[in-house]
Symmetry: D2
Subunit: 365 residues, 4 copies
């Protein structure tokens, strides 16, 4: 994981350990009966590692998350050994050199992680802070290789993706950052014969939208305006308080709605509300009309703990991408759209269709 | 229609007339592109008639609905001729005689309606007031025939269904009343080679539930409690203020949730709030948990105009049942489950799966 | 009224006429028993006039408001004569000349209105579109007089206030515009021996805040964050879609909260959602804590028709300001704080305290 | 406290101890600056004791409340000594004998508590489970004395009140039980020269109502319907799942609304939702109209932790009643109405007026 010491990263590591100690796998979709015979790697066989810019110990993060109600109190004692194991697999990427050098160094870290833990397959998942949009020059693969040696052509998220590919790992972007958006980055994966997927996990407001919008569509009820306000604190909230980072998020949040319903009025706000901590509240207001133009509304309020919704999906994505690696899948994984606000190489946003598509792929061959 | 002068009945008649005068068909599912080549009867070819216990003129009802904001102001002038046409097809069923006699008389009314209007096919739709549950003796078809001649073996809704079958009409129950619940009533339809469908249209709270519950299921998020409160006025509200009628409604409202999510705590209330008029507000509160048991909630408030949501579905059901008649379909129509809270001979409650099933049937042959 | 042809202006004129024809005075505070013996001018003795930049006929505006559900259907016929009377008292202010000339011309219009209608007292109320903040030079009364002759020292709202004072009228600002904010404008009123009041009527979200915030304070419950989103269409919404106009509104909206609760996190959004028409929906989310720091929340959703909430208050303000004139009150009227988001020369925002203060003043002498 | 081992009782004892260890006194009204010079007993001088039917150790209850998020994790260690002190003052009342004997035995317990702890004044507060309504014979003081010797004339809550009076303690009822409702019970207090107060603390939905209802009244906005649903788990929820106990609660909940707004449609539901634990969610829907009858709504959702809202009020009531004792106040304490849904010998329900009244009394003499 890139960003392994963040809320999502830590909750994933701590949560997988808790499952190993008997917690029920709530929120882990791949533990549903539908996936029983698919041949996924066992949750207890996953080994965690990653990069992060900071080196705050995982135990410290676990403490913070337990105080915020994200992790159950008392968990830290139970999973101390698992945290220590993961801690050994965490690296702070060293700065310096060209961007190409950085990619090579991170790829080296990933290879070392694989060897040290004697792993069959590695899946790199980006759970680092959302980056602002980044203007990437429109170059082809060769051009990208040249540019990496001399200039800051890519943001960190894309360098991470390239490092993954260099280390023969699958790559999944849990964030709306640039990462695999540039065509040349994707070509890199294809050249290496590797799968990639993303972007921006849907765990709250957008998740609910992805079932409500198809409902209006299926019932032929015209939606006039869809407005939303998201209140959140935590690390992610602090990042998104920067309007440039929020822009990345908003773009991916709004794509789905217009692809599902066409042009609809209304804005989406993301407010950083520090005292909310790791909790998020989203309020949406939908103005639609029925027969003969009668105006009606639907409002919802979602109160969720973001990291506790995200972490089980990280486990899912690791298992499913490992399966894609095993099956030799090359290029985009649009069948993972179920997990994302802005599904790569797909315009399907209806959660139920996405689920069917995921299952079809998983159960195939 | 049984209950043709009620809010749903009147809105259906007035609305179809408004469409003929150029209103856009919002809420009419069968006008979606998906159904374009299915060969449904044109909306402008539908002819309306029916039974009602009261004889309040349709124009009066239209006035009342316009004052309540259900129908657009000024519509009455535009559609006066259409209302007069429909008015001629409305009958107050005469009392007296055995239940068998009543069935025969209503069947005669339906046959007369068909002849008078030179119709190819007739679909009878029950939009009469919700009845209390009715204890029907467990008899076979022959037993039912005998009992009808001598005792009050069936409630009015079931008599209406039999009248439809006797008149070679399809039958659809828009309500949670007894109607086609007894096995012998269904056998009657089969013997006559006719289709039937129902029950209890989903137009509000239950509609939303039918997409949200599958969302929780698909994401493996355990739902602990689902509580709901429905506030409504109008004729339907007044009927449901009687706890016995409300019982029928509650049973059909709650079936879906348990079939989708298993055992879940929480109650559903239906409150008659006279000043709400024809408007309904539903508030639902869902308590679920994510990873490692963290508690989260989703609330929604639906504010809809019931009849304006129901009427376009009545048009859909008329067209689709006419198609079933044309195709010679006999017996239950589970593929209409998309429209119902308590879909007959089906346990599928997920709206998106129901839509797919409906479409598959419509586009078949 | 400045802005007499807007939604608030038109609803006030049409509403007063409707009251005269027997509508109950819902929302008119000065019709409560508490004010019965205060000696206010009768609602039926009020005569309406004003300025507006546009000359769309009142009947046209009434039609638009009736279509939007703000005014009851069928009202236009009933009150046609009253609208025609008011229409004769409406003027489009002519441009040209110095700002001093404009003030003089508008004052002349007001004097003519008084004479033509043989009125004892005139109250000018600003219900024109919200202006962006305006940087007014810090001059004294004499300086202001000089500047008016040569430069655009004041925005239109302040010119309106001066015109009122020149015509011996009381002045009340229903908006958050600049109007009576500059000290020299207030001195002008004092020099003329006239009362003034404002600003920015509280009719929705802020009204509710003005009772909820004191509740938290009285119960010693610390409020950590108060977030709000306002969705509105209509003319006011379109104006506030301009971020500069919205700035004026936000400043006055937020003053109360911090004066009631001190420093509290959270943002307030005003979204222009065209399809909402004259209806406004506000959602507020309050994060507070109880004993030992336990986090709790209160959310509310207000769905109101702004002009129908505002118009009866315009009537109140006209009557109360006429009383102030009669009593020879000079300068600010802080006892009108009950009506305003940003009460002039007062820091009291608790609605119940404001009511008590208003009543005390009204019942005095 | 009667019911000292319940959620409210335990949170009060644990919370007072936490305050002594430095927690800020959030929710304790009498710690507001307004009360600084009133001469109330210090929070750290309060000593706790009481009766409960069960003997589950306080430490066990504290553990349960910490697991449920009512008390902060880790508190138990900090306050172990305080809990042990309180534990010594808790008694299980012994059954047997006439009701008069029971009163005498409990009075003896209270006197022993006073002596053992060398206290100046004792205030008995009833925080026991809500009782169903109890039909009390209409007798005078003498009649009551006779009846107590021979029959079950009173429910336990009233016996507790009498025991308090016999032991020269003030009595406050935090619940809607019968306790001090019978006239003869009140006369008993008066004969003894003691103060009493209650009933049924307002800590959630009713608290919010007590500021919103006066808002509608002050703005002359007619309220047509007020509907509410309360979801709660915990011990109190389990008690109220019994419709007879809920009846007591509903009566006291609804009194205020009708006394504030007159006749208003709408029902209030109390649903026991076990998985909610000690948390309560209330949703209220208010239908009102503005000028010319336009319909509007206000909804709110309150999500609170009941005991954490109640406990600081128990501290307030103890201090204020001790002051009343000190001042020699005899009979009802209507100035405590600020704390109650059904304020004894008062019809004032507006929170802000109640606060003013409380303060006036506290600051007098
Ligand atoms: N439900 C969810 O939580 C959810 C849903 C969708 C997307 N996301 C995305 O997941 C990401 C993580 O969210 P979070 O709540 O854990 O945030 P966080 O702020 O708690 O953690 C982010 C971590 O990334 C690290 N980081 C920043 N830049 C890095 C880099 N270049 N290389 C390596 N590490 C880097 C930070 O040091 C930090 O530890 C965010 O981008 C967020 O938008 C989260
Ligand atoms: N969104 C919706 O409106 C919706 C959704 C689901 C189900 N329904 C059901 O549709 C039905 C109609 O609702 P409505 O709002 O029009 O109610 P309504 O009270 O306005 O109308 C019911 C009509 O049925 C008539 N009626 C009663 N008994 C009859 C009988 N035995 N034979 C013939 N007519 C009879 C009544 O006279 C009345 O005119 C109800 O059962 C309701 O539960 C409505
Ligand atoms: N509940 C409420 O409706 C409410 C509450 C608080 C404040 N307000 C304020 O009241 C004002 C009116 O609201 P509205 O909904 O009627 O808006 P509106 O847009 O419908 O009407 C504003 C009118 O003002 C006129 N106008 C603009 N500039 C003018 C000028 N310089 N001189 C004369 N007329 C001018 C416009 O032509 C228009 O007719 C706004 O400033 C609004 O913020 C309204
Ligand atoms: N916010 C609030 O928590 C709130 C607000 C208003 C009223 N109340 C009332 O306060 C009371 C306590 O609430 P709770 O949540 O602590 O309930 P709880 O069920 O947790 O505790 C009640 C306690 O009373 C004890 N008890 C029952 N009958 C008794 C008797 N006759 N004598 C002595 N003890 C007895 C029980 O054993 C239990 O320990 C309830 O009546 C509730 O309605 C609470
Ligand atoms: Na079924
Ligand atoms: Na009272």
């Amino acid at each position: 994981m890139f960003g392994a010491r963040g809320s999502v990263g830590t909750t994933t590591i701590a949560g997988a350990a808790a499952l190993a100690h008997g917690s029920p796998p709530a929120g882990v979709v791949t533990e549903l009966p539908d996936f029983a015979s698919v041949g996924l790697v066992g949750l207890d066989q996953l080994v965690f590692g990653g990069h992060d810019l900071v080196d705050t110990p995982l135990t410290k993060q676990v403490e913070r998350l337990a105080a915020g109600g994200v992790l159950p109190p008392g968990l830290d004692g139970l999973i101390a050994a698992d945290l220590a194991d993961a801690e050994r697999n965490l690296v702070v990427p060293s700065a310096g050199g060209s961007q190409y050098d950085q990619v090579r160094r991170m790829a080296e870290d990933i290879r070392a992680f694989r060897l040290r833990n004697d792993l069959d397959r590695v899946v790199a998942i980006n759970v680092a802070s959302t980056e602002p949009p980044y203007e990437v020059a429109d170059v082809d693969l060769a051009g990208l290789r040249r540019a990496l040696a001399t200039s800051a052509v890519l943001p960190p998220s894309s360098l991470g993706a390239l490092a993954a590919f260099e280390a023969d790992a699958a790559y999944v972007d849990f964030t709306p950052s640039t990462s695999i958006r540039p065509a040349a980055v994707r070509e890199w994966a294809v050249e290496k014969g590797l799968p990639y997927g993303g972007q921006d996990a849907k765990t709250g407001e957008t998740l609910v939208k992805s079932v409500l919008a198809p409902m209006f569509a299926a019932r032929a009820l015209p939606v006039h305006a869809w407005s939303g306000t998201n209140l959140l604190g935590g690390g992610d909230g602090a990042t998104l308080a920067d309007p440039r980072a929020a822009e990345s998020k908003n773009v991916s949040k709004e794509r789905g709605l217009s692809e599902m319903l066409g042009d609809v009025a209304g804005q989406v706000h993301i407010d950083y509300v520090d005292p909310m901590g790791d909790w998020k509240t989203a309020w949406d207001h939908v103005l639609f009309s029925g027969f003969l133009g009668v105006r009606m509304t639907l409002q919802f309020t979602w109160q969720g703990c973001d990291s506790a919704l995200a972490a089980p999906l990280v486990l899912d994505l690791a298992r499913l991408s490992a399966l894609a690696l095993e099956r030799g899948h090359v290029g985009a994984m649009p069948f993972l759209g179920f997990y994302f606000k802005d599904p790569i190489e797909s315009t399907e946003h209806s959660l139920s269709r996405q689920y069917d598509e995921l299952l079809r792929w998983a159960q195939s061959c």
